[in-house]
Symmetry: C2
Subunit: 133 residues, 2 copies
């Protein structure tokens, strides 16, 4: 698997956990031993792993994220860091998100997530992904 595919796989894993309410997988996908940060739509930032996990537990217990899917992913890679920009497809609309990943022990783990409202829509044909070394 090339590095872009690896990052896309990690990102897909994140949205699978998100859309199916799988807290245990969500927890395992966030990086350990490094700063992690999270900005949920309309909220202030969460700066501590414990607070971030608490927020996911609440979100994943609810119905609001049920069936959420990721669309129109774009991947950028620089060394052991990568970021993905993607749409989050929900009942009745889209959000736009940035997910920042770090490679730890061969796996891409999330360090930062920000999602917010958007009037944009994923394009089926456009995919621009780049690797920087």
């Amino acid at each position: 698997m090339d590095r872009i595919a690896e990052v896309l796989f990690a990102n897909e894993h994140f949205y699978q956990a998100f859309g199916t309410g799988d807290y245990q997988t969500m927890e395992s996908l966030w990086a350990k031993g490094v700063p992690v940060t999270c900005i949920h739509p309309g909220h202030g930032p969460l700066m501590q792993r414990k607070e971030i996990m608490k927020s996911w537990k609440l979100i994943l217990q609810g119905e609001s994220a049920s069936g959420l899917q990721c669309k129109g992913e774009e991947v950028m890679i620089h060394g052991d860091l990568a970021w993905v920009i993607c749409y989050e497809s929900l009942q009745g609309g889209y959000l736009i998100a940035t997910n920042l990943f770090i490679q730890q022990n061969g796996e891409w783990k999330i360090m930062h997530h920000q999602a917010g409202p958007t009037s944009g829509r994923p394009s089926e044909n456009e995919e621009i992904s780049g690797e920087i070394n």
Copy 2:
């Protein structure tokens, strides 16, 4: 200047250009030779430097960003990459932003910016910044 101060300086420089409509400085603050991405509040992603610069030209020509300031910055550093989470203080409200930086020739340049609405407010006392190496 330590590395956290360097990143804060670059972030402050970005918001100074933003709040005073200084397009030339804004253009110089975005990284060259690497992928850059930008998500303005409520919009879809911009994936090309040319498109990003065009958007800033339009934004900085208008009145909407006049006097915009940055508040409650939090800095995370990993090697030659850093990200800042901060509030953008506008007439009548706040936005919340992620700014991703890369160190190029000793200067921190922007690779990615996402801003969106928030119900959060900057805390005057809280500042948690970390460096990962």
